[in-house]
């Protein structure tokens, strides 16, 4: 099966700065994939190379088997990109903008599909409004719509929910999930790790231009063994026997790291024995954010060493 996206040994240098230092990545058709990483990790650079907005220093990238440089026309027809910045052409209305974008892709009589996108993105009221007069959220919707005019099998969204209100965020993800169910491959970057965890099947974590983790969300979370137990106690002292488990203590809350669920029983036994009452107890399961913090932190210490 041809990968939806295939990146091989991708290097990109801007002067002396290395933005990408040898990225290899394969994304399968139909995947819902997230590129995660701190600011400046190279996520946008990678996306821009796929889109042909940036030329790689070395390495290759393919969209559905088409090289983004040598067969750029085919590659670009198969790719829809929602850029991170809120850009728009102030000369045109929403509908004109979408009709023009369709035309760039060689599509005539694309009105039925344009109407459908306008409907799904809740833009119907604004269809004949000039782009200048739209709010930021509305402009963001138009950007998404523009990326979809040519029904690309691969859709890339670069921080689509940055600075977007809850309502739009939910509407947007509903629509994107629908597109994914219909067979579109989705690649997104986001700083909201809960979004990535809820939506994506697989993630890649980038740091300083390199992939430092690439796995399914489930495997990544499972890689963090154990759970945390958050307790408020009366009297407010942790029995000495439990001190080795203590991972943090904050305003009367003790967070204990336990290896597995069976260990919880032992903790409670100790508390009972010391006649300490449990006022509150919460089980904290590891999430993608924890994995992210751990991976970003660990590579940092390795680099320092």
């Amino acid at each position: 099966m041809t990968p939806a996206i295939e990146v091989k040994q991708m290097h990109k240098r801007f002067g002396t700065v290395t933005a990408l230092g040898g990225v290899d990545l394969e994304i399968n058709p139909g995947e819902f994939f997230a590129l995660l990483g701190p600011n400046g990790a190279g996520k946008t650079t990678l996306i821009h190379i796929l889109a042909g907005l940036i030329l790689a220093s070395s390495g290759s990238a393919r969209v559905m088997g088409h090289d983004v440089v040598t067969s750029y026309r085919e590659a670009r027809r198969l790719l829809g990109v929602v850029p991170q910045e809120l850009v728009f052409d102030p000369f045109f209305t929403v509908r004109e903008t979408l009709a023009i974008q369709s035309g760039y892709y060689g599509l005539k009589n694309n009105d039925p599909w344009i109407d459908e996108i306008i409907h799904h993105l809740d833009l119907a009221d604004k269809a004949n409004t000039n782009m200048r007069a739209l709010s930021g959220g509305m402009k963001r919707r138009v950007l998404v719509a523009q990326a979809l005019v040519h029904k690309p099998p691969v859709i890339v969204l670069d921080e689509p929910t940055a600075g977007v209100d809850v309502e739009l965020r939910q509407a947007l993800w509903r629509f994107i999930k629908q597109l994914n169910r219909d067979g579109h491959t989705i690649v997104l970057t986001t700083h909201y790790l809960d979004e990535a965890e809820a939506l994506c099947s697989r993630v890649a974590m980038l740091k300083q231009g390199k992939i430092v983790a690439l796995d399914s969300v489930r495997n990544l979370i499972n890689s963090i063994s154990g759970v945390s137990l958050r307790l408020r106690l009366s009297p407010d002292t942790l029995p000495a026997a439990l001190l080795p488990l203590l991972s943090s203590c904050d305003e009367g809350y003790y967070v204990l790291a336990v290896k597995d669920y069976s260990q919880i029983e032992g903790v409670l036994t100790v508390l009972r024995g010391e006649q300490v009452q449990v006022l509150e107890m919460r089980l904290l399961q590891p999430d993608l954010e924890e994995v992210f913090v751990k991976i970003m932190g660990s590579t940092e210490s390795r680099e320092l060493a």
Binding site: I54, L55, E74, V87, F91, Y104
Partner: protein, 251 residues
């Protein structure tokens, strides 16, 4: 073809929607030049025997309007798109660099011809200007506006800010236009300046264009045509190379 046609159409709409600034304003400017220069110089200058100065001036002003507006169209469209970031919509699309080139150049030609025609038609209301050969007029108007349209693409790609574009316009385009013989026949110049004028491609565009009206010119229109064509091909080649390699567009 649809992709090219869409971009071309978009570029036409872009200037047409603000026609007050992009068409009417330059027509008015050209008419002011005509009013002032003809008033001041009518009695002092006779460029060609039997041709009144004002009548001599009109084709020059028409061509100047054609050239300046052709340049302004592609260059300002590109710099605006670059500064506001919406150039990304063109760059993301499968449009080939040739299609992009052609769309911007033809839109520039259209703007140049519309403004030139505007100036010409208004002056016809007041003066009688002969028209010897419409073919030469059209040929030089097309070639000249295409050349300046391509030059506008280069300037628009090269400039990163509006003031850099303004510098390109003020220090290159404007002096070359003003010193091209719009306002005078180069035979009235001292020998040194006369020979220097022969290195100015704008001179050939104006001179050839004027030949179409009067059947008289400083040099043969065939020679001018060859020079302007050569310049157009050279500038087009450079523009296409810039677009192909993504110079300052795809980093």
């Amino acid at each position: 073809m649809t992709g090219f046609y869409t971009l071309f159409h978009k570029e036409l709409l872009r200037f047409w929607k603000v026609g007050f600034q992009t068409v009417l304003a330059p027509v008015l400017t050209a008419l002011l030049y005509l009013l002032i220069f003809s008033h001041v110089l009518e009695d002092h200058v006779q460029a060609y025997p039997g041709v009144a100065y004002t009548i001599f001036l009109i084709p020059g002003l028409v061509m100047m309007a054609v050239l300046q507006n052709a340049f302004a169209n592609s260059s300002s469209s590109l710099i605006q798109s670059k500064v506001t970031g919406n150039i990304v919509f063109v760059l993301l699309s499968p449009l080939s660099y040739r299609e992009i080139f052609l769309a911007y150049v033809l839109a520039s030609v259209a703007r140049g011809l519309v403004v030139g025609l505007g100036v010409y038609l208004v002056t016809l209301g007041f003066f009688e200007v002969p028209l010897r050969s419409f073919l030469w007029v059209l040929l030089f108007a097309l070639l000249g506006s295409a050349l300046l349209g391509a030059l506008g693409i280069i300037a628009g790609i090269w400039a990163e800010k509006f003031d850099q574009l303004a510098a390109f316009q003020n220090f290159i385009i404007l002096p070359l236009t003003f010193l091209s013989g719009v306002f005078y026949s180069i035979h009235s110049l001292p020998p040194f300046w006369q020979s220097l004028s022969h290195f100015n491609p704008f001179f050939y565009m104006i001179d050839g264009f004027r030949y179409g009206f009067f059947g008289v010119s400083d040099i043969s229109p065939y020679f001018s045509f060859a020079i302007v064509t050569t310049c157009f091909l050279a500038v087009s080649w450079l523009t296409l190379q810039m677009l192909k390699t993504g110079y300052k567009l795809r980093h």
